[in-house]
């Protein structure tokens, strides 16, 4: 293990001194940021920064000052004003306005737990998330009003939601339930985060290919192997490139996070560090280990990346197999395809992260089966990769055929 750490340290040092790696390290997040800005240049929501949103509240419960306080505390750029316009008239008033919303707070809305919200056509896309904050003063008002009969307790425990009722849809969609947004975010953000970690360590891990086949090309493998065992060398590479992947992730996050936090008014940090994140990251790490062991084994069979045969090329494509499942999984996260995807080791890390992000109820049995398959596959592939690596790394200047690789595995 000590020798593996030396190899890992060397791989990290060697890459950190390599210009190509450094450029890639910073270019990746910068390109992402650039694309985000590109979006805002061509989009028109840049004005949102300046123009406040006008909130007209038809308040029959005298809660306006409470609402104002809450909004001030949250620091939203809202302009809250009272209004007498009734729900029937609101469509005509909203027509042609921008960044305007009408809230109807009355006994009826408190009873039903749904506060109707009418929005102008143009409005900050995150307004519906932000407006949920007004639930708190309303809830406390409800509490004050109630003597605690059974019926009232039931009302207290029910949630108040703000209902998105865009002008065009107002006629028929009044009753639609608002979604449970914070809960979604608390899965979505760690899920996206874990997906990002996995992508960046798997892509960095593809450099293991390079590293293993380069060792053959430079004919240094035998010199290295006079100091340590092939297993130690392989482990060192896997650990080293894992660390490089993490460095890539950290650099990306340091560059990306302030930009995201500035562009979007989501308290990312709050939603990021939830217990779910641990599982997501665990899955991401397993995904890395699986592909890293495959890459390091296959890399040892190639004389040069440019001479990769069909077989090696096919194996290199394995991480992309997950993309096949994205469509079917998103359309039905518990469906047959989603399940198949979670039981195939090559696609399961990606599919699992995707499903757990989308699904509200986690299918624990499926998760456990899928993780078990994944872990067994990792152990299996590590063993196979070890065998292939041991022979392949010394086979200078030649690509191994699948037949030969099979022979090494059997040996």
């Amino acid at each position: 293990m000590r020798n593996s750490m030396k190899v890992a340290k060397w791989e990290i040092k060697r890459n950190m001194k390599n210009k190509t790696f450094l450029i890639g390290l910073f270019l990746t997040p910068i390109i992402i940021v650039a694309f985000m800005f590109l979006g805002t240049i061509f989009g028109d929501d840049s004005e949102n920064e300046v123009i406040p949103t006008d909130i007209y509240v038809n308040d029959q419960l005298n809660l306006l000052s409470d609402l104002q306080n809450t909004v001030n505390q949250a620091g939203y750029n809202w302009n809250i004003q009272p209004t007498d316009i009734s729900e029937a008239e609101v469509e005509d008033v909203l027509d042609g306005t921008e960044n305007t919303a009408y809230l109807y707070i009355n006994e009826q809305s408190l009873q039903s737990g749904n506060v109707p919200v009418f929005l102008s056509e143009e409005i900050d896309s995150f307004f519906m998330n932000q407006v949920q904050i007004l639930a708190t003063p309303l809830k406390s008002f409800q509490m004050q009003q109630l003597d605690l009969s059974n019926e009232e307790l039931a009302i207290i425990s029910s949630q108040i939601t703000f209902e998105d009722t865009k002008v065009e849809e107002s006629a028929d969609d009044l009753e639609e339930q608002g979604s449970d947004l914070p809960a979604t975010l608390s899965r979505l953000i760690p899920g996206i985060f874990a997906g990002f970690i996995m992508l960046s360590i798997v892509f960095t891990g593809m450099a293991i290919f390079q590293s293993a086949s380069q060792e053959k090309k430079d004919k240094i493998a035998e010199i290295i192997l006079s100091s340590l065992t092939p297993g130690e060398l392989m482990q060192g590479k896997i650990i080293g490139y894992f660390a490089l992947g993490i460095i890539q992730t950290v650099v990306s996050i340091i560059i990306l996070l302030p930009v995201i936090a500035w562009r979007m008014d989501i308290p990312i940090m709050e939603y990021l560090f939830v217990p779910e994140l641990a599982l997501f990251i665990f899955i991401a790490v397993l995904g890395y280990l699986l592909f890293a062991s495959i890459f390091v084994g296959i890399g040892a069979t190639m004389a040069d990346v440019s001479t990769a045969g069909n077989f090696q090329g096919f194996v290199m494509m394995l991480p992309f197999a997950t993309f096949i499942f994205i469509g079917p999984v998103l359309s039905d996260p518990s469906g047959l395809w989603a399940q198949i995807g979670s039981y195939i080791p090559f696609t399961s890390p990606g599919v699992l992260i995707l499903r757990l992000t989308v699904l509200e109820q986690w299918p624990w049995i499926e998760i456990i089966i899928s993780l078990a398959i994944l872990i067994v596959s990792i152990l299996l592939f590590m063993k196979l990769a070890g065998k292939i690596f041991k022979v392949g790394i010394l086979l200078y200047g030649k690509n191994a055929t699948p037949g030969e690789i099979w022979k090494w595995i059997k040996a």
Binding site: N3, K6, K17, E222, I223, L225
Partner: protein, 310 residues
């Protein structure tokens, strides 16, 4: 002298072909032991078995003064036949990395690296990227990397291949001085003239089998018999009748007579028959080089000797 490494009766097969048969030898402290043989004789395979890059099917490899299992990797320096260096790193970085892998203290390694770079005419190259070095410079760096950690046993597989004569001399001198300082050295080569000048003992191998094993002097007295080369038009049958002649090779007017081991040149010359035409005559010992060529081309120059001993 103290024995550092014993190779005992090792055998190795690739598929059905036996590439090493019953190879036995030892390497002692402070000596240069050479494994000689033509290409494909099994030199590198033997060395790879010692280094644990392959494992023998039978037989044992023992590192003396090493308690515990396995190979004392950090006490061995190894220069493989197929060798190279990482291309896009600095000379000093790679030397320190290889020293670190051997568990050698870094400050000492740095000192020794600078000392050897200077010795090998590479002073000031420590910050140069490996890809900018010439082939010969690269080989010098590889050689330094194999000795930087002060190994007790140094294994060099074809250390002279691809070197110019100046560098060859430099390497020879350095290898000799390492041996004089107590390092046990095992080297393989097919360049007989180089080895003849420097090795203490040798092991000659052909088709995976031992052909000769012993000290250089022993080998010379035992195998390097006299041979007599005569220019002149002679009948091969006449030549073969001369006493002490083992066999005769004739090419045009040149005949080479291979003589017995116990021939005394003075008396033998006096006893040469009158009827033999001599325009020129040369008598000398068979060189290691010739023994080597004979082995490589499978003539049985010393085969009888080997059989007689067996």
């Amino acid at each position: 002298m103290e024995v550092l490494l014993t190779v005992k009766e090792i055998e190795k097969s690739f598929k059905d072909k036996k590439v090493l048969k019953n190879i036995t030898f030892e390497v002692r402290k402070g000596e240069i032991m050479a494994i000689l043989g033509p290409n494909g004789a099994g030199k590198s395979t033997t060395i790879r078995n010692i280094m644990g890059i392959m494992y023998p099917d039978n037989g044992a490899i023992t590192f003396h003064q090493h308690n515990g299992k396995g190979i004392p990797r950090n006490k061995i320096g190894y220069l493989p036949e197929e060798r190279g260096l990482y291309q896009n790193v600095k000379v000093m970085d790679i030397l320190l990395y290889l020293a670190e892998l051997k568990g050698y203290p870094l400050d000492k390694a740095k000192e020794r690296a600078l000392m050897y770079l200077k010795k090998f005419d590479l002073e000031g190259k420590e910050k140069v990227s490996v890809e900018e070095l010439s082939k010969g410079m690269g080989q010098k760096v590889q050689f330094i990397s194999s000795i930087i950690h002060e190994p007790e046993l140094l294994i060099l597989d074809e250390p002279f291949s691809g070197l110019d004569p100046v560098s060859q001399e430099l390497f020879k001198k350095e290898i000799r001085s390492l041996a004089d300082n107590g390092t046990a050295i095992l080297l393989s080569s097919h360049q007989m003239n180089l080895v003849e000048e420097m090795c203490d003992r040798l092991f000659m191998i052909q088709n995976g089998q031992k052909v000769i094993y012993g000290t250089l002097d022993d080998v010379k007295t035992q195998y390097a018999n006299f041979k007599c080369t005569i220019y002149g038009n002679n009948n091969i049958a006449d030549l073969e009748r001369i006493s002490h002649v083992q066999r005769v090779e004739q090419e045009g007017d040149t005949s080479t007579l291979y003589l017995d081991k116990d021939v005394v040149p003075n008396t033998w010359l006096k006893e040469l028959p009158e009827n033999i035409l001599i325009q020129e005559l040369k008598i000398n010992r068979i060189s290691l080089h010739e023994i080597f060529i004979d082995i490589a081309t499978n003539k049985n120059l010393i085969q009888e000797e080997g059989d007689a001993n067996a």
